[in-house]
């Protein structure tokens, strides 16, 4: 047999989880190779845009990368608001207290800038150990020998052996699926987020949000503006841009046949947003991402053999009520996985790394945050449709409305409770009904006219950068029947009904006098979010290294 390339550790993916793992491994002298499929690190990465450092976490990103905040982050979040919307009525709660619970700091980030900065540090660190970071390499699976995982296989390079493989390859982790640890089956287990990065004139972020140096804001939006789809909107201030987006439960998006880009537009054109946006609205980038719901999918034992999953790949994305935390957990998990390997290696038992990693996740409290016991208790009762209907009916009734009025500003305090927020059930009650009732009963109308004209989907796709792998589509439609794959036409963030320029289109085919509704697929506009892997019948892979969409903002 030919001699294979071999490293002590291979880290797949150079996002925050991979970067943290690689840095911690390299600092402990582990020979570490990092493989990243983007043409540059960060070009495949999208996030809502808030990165937390938790007081209770054993690792924050600036522990591992000391100059991180100055060099790679945007503005800190010093004020946090939740807006309940009903028509043009708005009731705003200040939830800064909830935001600051267990928070050392929290910064808005743009992933291209952040991840490419991290990658430089990671390359310097890993090179010292005899490894390094290679971009443009897509790892397409696990290398096995006699059924055991011994390394990874790539599109661009020969197979590589390793004593430890860290899969930090994101929400659509092909390694996690290859290992049988994760799947793309149930829409209930996922959120889908879409985001616009909005250019602001010089000084406008400071002026329009009334911010001083070292200040920034976060805003959440919920209520009746999203066609009854469970989820909400967000707005974060960056240095000179805004990150504005929406996050919805994928099952709800599918059930309502809602178009994600239209829901984003509903937020962008809401009168409340006219406070910050004007007619000169200029969108720098439209992006989308699938988000795992850790309460349901965070893998309690995210390892198999020499493989350990970290971050989104392991479903480690926590929706703490309205506040979403993902990257911080990826960082912690990455560093704990590295710690586990280093300890196992020092005991000459590197194969014990996985079990040790699992134990650390539990002992350091990470797993309890990701899969809180309180939520599990509430869920069994609260997520039944009859219960939801009763709750909604009560809330909407004069009695319920009286309750809301009576509670008044105490509601703000309730919303600010970290304990309550951990047990919010996934029903339309907290997402839609309650905020709408709150706004109707307690809110004041917004008078401002919103003059924003968001670009249409064709223009949004048109302004993205793609390196199309012509003749080599990365997604294949297995079943083109509307019944099997039709949900993708609306749920895919770059597809829409009656839009021919997207990924998924519904078409009528007539053969021999018979008419059939089918779905066709063009992967060229794909933003690699993974939605269709869940809602349609596809063979889904990432494009080859360096190919596909390239995000400039992230």
């Amino acid at each position: 047999m030919t001699e294979r390339e071999r490293y002590e550790a291979v880290v797949v993916g150079a996002g925050p989880g991979g970067a943290a793992a690689a840095a911690a491994l390299a600092r402990n002298g582990v020979e570490t190779l990092v493989l990243e499929r983007g043409v540059e690190t960060g070009s495949k990465n999208v996030s809502g845009g808030l990165l937390y450092a938790e007081a209770s976490a054993p690792y924050a990103i600036d522990d591992l990368f000391p100059e991180f905040r100055e060099a790679a982050a945007e503005r800190p979040v010093t004020d946090y608001y939740l807006h309940n919307l009903a028509g043009d009525r708005v009731k705003t709660f200040d939830i800064t207290d909830l935001h600051e619970h267990d928070t050392e700091w929290s910064d808005a980030v743009l992933r291209r800038k952040m991840d490419s900065w991290l990658a430089e540090r990671v390359h310097e660190l890993t090179r010292e150990t005899g490894g390094g970071l290679l971009t443009g390499v897509r790892v397409n699976g696990l290398l096995r020998e006699d059924g055991e995982i011994v390394g990874v296989t790539c599109d661009e390079l020969d197979p590589i052996e390793a004593d430890f493989v860290v899969a930090a390859d994101g929400v659509n982790s092909e390694l996690a699926r290859d290992a049988g640890l994760m799947d793309w089956e149930e829409p209930e287990e996922w959120f889908q987020g879409v985001k616009a990065v909005v250019d602001m004139p010089e000084g406008a972020v400071d002026d329009r949000f009334d911010l001083d140096d070292g200040e920034g804001e976060a805003h959440l939006f919920s209520g009746d503006l999203f066609e009854g789809v469970r989820g909400g909107g967000f707005l974060y201030t960056n240095e000179d841009t805004l990150s504005i987006g929406t996050v919805f439960h994928l099952d709800s998006l599918v059930a309502e046949e809602a178009e994600p880009h239209e829901l984003l537009d509903a937020l962008l054109t809401h009168p409340l947003l006219a406070r910050w946006l004007d007619d000169g609205y200029e969108e720098l980038e439209y992006a989308a991402k699938l988000v795992p719901d850790s309460k349901k999918v965070a893998h309690p034992s995210p390892h198999r053999g020499r493989l350990a999953l970290v971050g989104d790949a392991a479903g480690q994305m926590q929706a703490q009520g309205p506040i979403i935390k993902g990257m911080n957990h990826a960082v912690t998990a990455g560093a704990l996985a590295a710690e586990a390997f280093v300890e196992a290696r020092s005991r000459s038992d590197p194969d014990a790394a996985g079990a040790l990693y699992e134990r650390k996740l539990r002992e350091e409290g990470v797993m309890e945050k990701l899969r809180p016991r309180r939520y599990r208790a509430v869920r069994t009762l609260a997520e039944h449709d009859p219960v939801t209907d009763v709750l909604d009916a009560v809330l909407d009734s004069p009695v319920g409305r009286f309750g809301v009025r009576a509670l008044g500003d105490d509601l703000e305090r309730l919303y600010g409770s970290p304990f309550l927020s951990m047990m919010v059930p996934d029903t339309r009650t907290p997402y839609v009904t309650l905020p709408t009732v709150i706004a109707e009963e307690l809110g004041d109308p917004v008078e401002t006219k919103n003059g924003v004209t968001p670009p249409d989907l064709a223009d949004r796709i048109g302004s993205l950068t793609y390196d199309v792998d012509v003749g080599n589509p990365h997604i294949e439609l297995v079943d083109d029947a509307v019944g099997a794959s039709g949900d993708a036409v609306t749920a895919c963030p770059v597809s829409a009904r009656d839009f021919g320029g997207g990924c998924y289109r519904e078409e009528t085919v007539r053969t021999n006098g018979e008419e059939r509704r089918v779905v066709s697929l063009d992967t060229q506009p794909c933003v690699e979010c993974g939605t269709c892997a869940v809602v349609a019948d596809t063979d889904w892979e990432h494009p080859r290294g360096g190919k596909g969409v390239e995000f400039r903002q992230g």
Partner: protein, 548 residues
Amino acid sequence: MADAPMDPGEYAIQELGPEIRSIEDVDALRAILEAEEAGENRAGAKTIIESRIEKFTEDEESTGEIDPSEMTAAEVGNALQDVDDPEELERIRAAEEEGKNRDSVLTLVDNRLDSVRGSDAEAAEVVPPEEKHPDLDHPTADKRHVRALEEGTYADMWVYCETQAGDLIDVSLEMLGKARELMDDYNETYDADEKVVAVLVGDGVATHAETCIEHGADVVVHHEDPRLDRFRHEPYTRVFCDMARWGGDPGAGNPDPAAWRDYDEPRYVLFPATPNGRDLSAQVQAELDSGLASDCSGLYIENAVISNPAKTGGEDREFERVLHMKRPDFSGFEYSTILCLDNPSREFHPQGASVIPGSFEVPDPEPEREGEVVEHEFELDEEWFRVEVEAFDRLEGGVDLTGHEVIVALGRGIGDDPTRGMELGLELVDAFEDAALGISRGIVTSSYEFEGHVEEYAAEERQIGETGQEVEPDLYVAAGISGAIQHKVGMDESDTIVAVNTDPEADVRDFSDYFIEGDLFEVLPRLVEALEAGKLDAAAVADGGETG
């Protein structure tokens, strides 16, 4: 003898060491030693003083001249490492010859001399490997190959312009454009007047001479022969090499006199990194006894300061006019820059590269450029054609939509009846004198089921746009195409764009000269009618419809 600066008798042995540490004068130390001997004469004390004397005596000797007669060969070897003056080494060598005349010592001195001087051309004596190592097997000893020229003269950049099925392929023009740019810079930098020479070999290829000149060649050398209609390894190599030598004898460099050239062989040669170009480049460069950088994607010419054991004897030396050939390694993760440099004893010319198609732009043709066309005369031996090609197949080259006056392009507007839509498009194509049918990516990736007679038109080879073909006809008819940016980049250089669309808001309207709001199933037949009625003017057609 100096006075002892101190009386050792006043110190205990352990005190003595620190006390004399400041004394470096050997004479003073000797005086102290004598004082000790005369006094207490302690063995320990004497050892301390002696070792200090020894230390400084050695220092003096090492800075002095080397006398090989008093040294072992190993000692000479060590001592030589500090000597880097060739004259001093010559003196040591002479001293050894007069003295013990040991072979081992002489070799050591010679080696040191070599490394100090570097292997000057005059000093390096070239011994063929067969003579140098007679004890080894030399399986290639009987092979005859042409040696590189000695003291050859070189000039110009040659570009092998490949043709396929009679047509010049794009990479040939790409290389000519790059060569032009390189030699313009070269002539300015080196105050020279060297040319770009295009080489055409084949059957009836001289017709491309003008194109080569328009794209940057100063001279076109061609060789035509009906037997060369397809690429043949041996005759093509023979022809190219004879062109390069211009009738000169292999390895001797005595070219036939020619008005357009005054050198033995080309300075640089470029080949396309196509299957045939790779084949030819390797054989030609071997025959000319030079090197080849294959599959390059970047080229530049500049001087290079190089230090290399074989090329410069380990010293820095500046090579002039070096062609730097960049090539991707490991699937493009790294780049190497290959230099083809003369050895002290062997010339590596022409400096040659094969170039990956698409690495450079096809230059804009300059019809007013002038150049010389030279026919190469050379007898082709029938023996070189002894391999017979019995059959060959040309893979489907796809559809070329460029170069037509009119393109009729169809989009997803045909979705209601794809086959009928395609038929209407083809009818419109037929109504023009020189038109072709293109389609949008939306059709290529659709699930439309076309009937057999139009199915072939729905293939990717007709796609216009970013990932398809880019066209710029006089007239572009976009029927049922919304006009996404990916489509627009493939056609918006067209002179006149006429769009037919049911949606008056369609993006295509923004970059159309005429916009007909209507269903293509109704509008296309009317366009065909108008054309057949003799109203060839697109504007007239547009005026007849609902225009925007």
